[in-house]
């Protein structure tokens, strides 16, 4: 048990906004700006209201012989201070709506350059990524073919599915490592087969729940190569904290090279299903939900 006071007190002297993890996505900065705008507005409101509160507390504290002012209020005043915040909030609302449609509505994705499927899973707690394979086309998904051996439910009758590439945790406590190219619009189809998860990329300002029974589209465009963490932000069982993954943003060349290497590792004949079973089997047992 140790305790570092100066680090612990950082909150007291550092500006809140400096605590954001580095932003590496295109729309991320807009969200950060929006946050900053609301933050500055709040700080202003905070100082105004606290100023008034404290001033009144001091000025009008009880004194012998003082008598309070008998006054019930004034409609014009009420009207004014109803209207003022309304304008401020309308402004916040309008600005927010713009950023919201841009970042959340996947319809708005300006033609995705890369499309992948991502699945959160609870038995072992991690993420699986599916790339379309050398043919560039995903195999069709059939909900009734979902099984623990074929979590994506890839239609076994679809040739496009045979070469699909599934990336999973290498086992042990090691997180999955998925690669994506920078400066490309990435479209993620997100889902889950068990409980809710939430696909959280702190550096990209992306967060979206993975809902079983539903494929939800998420998009982002990374601007900087590097190694970024993937987190789960929706309680999914006792291993929820342990759903760490890694997203490696490569230049296009590196990304292509990595994909090629992955294709080689995996024989085209092997059904993708087989791979994932193996992976799930080695998933660390300690983090599996307690079942009875």
């Amino acid at each position: 048990m140790s305790f570092d006071v100066s680090k612990a007190m950082e909150w007291a002297y550092k500006d809140m906004l400096t605590f954001f993890p580095e932003n590496v996505s295109t729309f991320g900065s807009e969200l950060d700006q929006l946050f900053a705008m609301i933050y500055y507005a709040s700080v202003a409101i905070f100082f105004i209201t606290y100023g008034i509160l404290i001033a009144f507390i001091i000025m009008y504290r009880h004194q012998e012989g003082r008598r309070a002012y008998h006054y019930h209020g004034n409609n014009l005043v009420e009207f004014t201070w109803t209207l003022l915040p309304t304008f401020l909030f309308a402004g916040i609302g309008l600005w927010s709506d713009d950023a919201w449609t841009k970042s959340k509505s996947a319809y708005r994705v300006p033609n995705p350059d890369v499309t992948i499927d991502v699945l959160g899973y609870q038995s072992g707690f991690g993420w699986q990524f599916r790339y379309p394979g050398p043919d560039g086309v995903f195999g069709k998904k059939e909900r009734n073919q979902i099984s623990s051996a074929n979590p994506f439910g890839i239609d076994s009758n679809d040739v496009h599915g045979k070469d699909d590439l599934v990336i999973i945790s290498p086992g042990g406590a090691r997180p999955v490592e998925a690669h994506l190219p920078i400066n490309k619009n990435v479209l993620v189809n997100l889902s889950s087969n068990d409980v809710l998860h939430s696909f959280f990329l702190p550096n990209f300002r992306v967060k979206q729940d993975a809902v079983p029974g539903q494929w939800i589209k998420v998009w982002f465009n990374g601007t900087k190569a590097g190694r970024y963490e993937i987190a789960c932000a929706e309680l999914c069982g006792s291993g929820h904290y342990n759903m760490r993954g890694l997203l490696i943003m490569d230049s296009q060349q590196d990304y292509d090279a990595w994909l090629d290497q992955q294709y080689k590792l995996k024989k085209p004949e092997t059904a993708p299903a087989a791979d994932s079973t193996a992976a799930l089997a080695v998933a660390p047992d300690s983090t599996t939900t307690k079942k009875n």
């Binding site: 509505s105 996947a106 319809y107 539903q214 939800i216 589209k217």
Partner: protein, 101 residues
């Protein structure tokens, strides 16, 4: 004590009338739910079925509320206990039905 409804003979009459109307409308819903819409109407036919069924149910429920449950005669503010929940029903169902992207 209970409400200011008309004298009991008049009430007796309206109870009987309402009950007969309820019986009649019930028969009507069942008839309306028969297979009388031409297949060619497709989806519109289904909607028609649903609309008729619900419409009749709404009419029936208002009869029960207003006559059997005396909303017509009781203090008007009691109607709020019916209409506010109904409003919320629409809010909820509206939001629920705008599902998924």
């Amino acid at each position: 004590m209970s409400g200011h409804h008309p004298d009991s003979n008049a009430m007796f009459g309206s109870y009987i009338r309402v009950a007969s109307a309820l019986f009649g409308l019930t028969v009507l819903t069942v008839l309306a739910a028969m297979d009388w819409v031409p297949k060619s109407w497709g989806e519109a036919g289904n909607t028609l079925h649903i609309a008729i069924g619900l419409l009749i149910a709404v009419v029936k429920s208002f009869m029960v509320f207003y006559i059997f449950m005396h909303l017509k005669f009781d203090n008007k503010f009691i109607r709020a206990f019916v209409f506010v929940p109904i409003f919320l029903f629409f809010v909820l169902t509206f939001a629920l039905n705008v599902l998924g992207p």
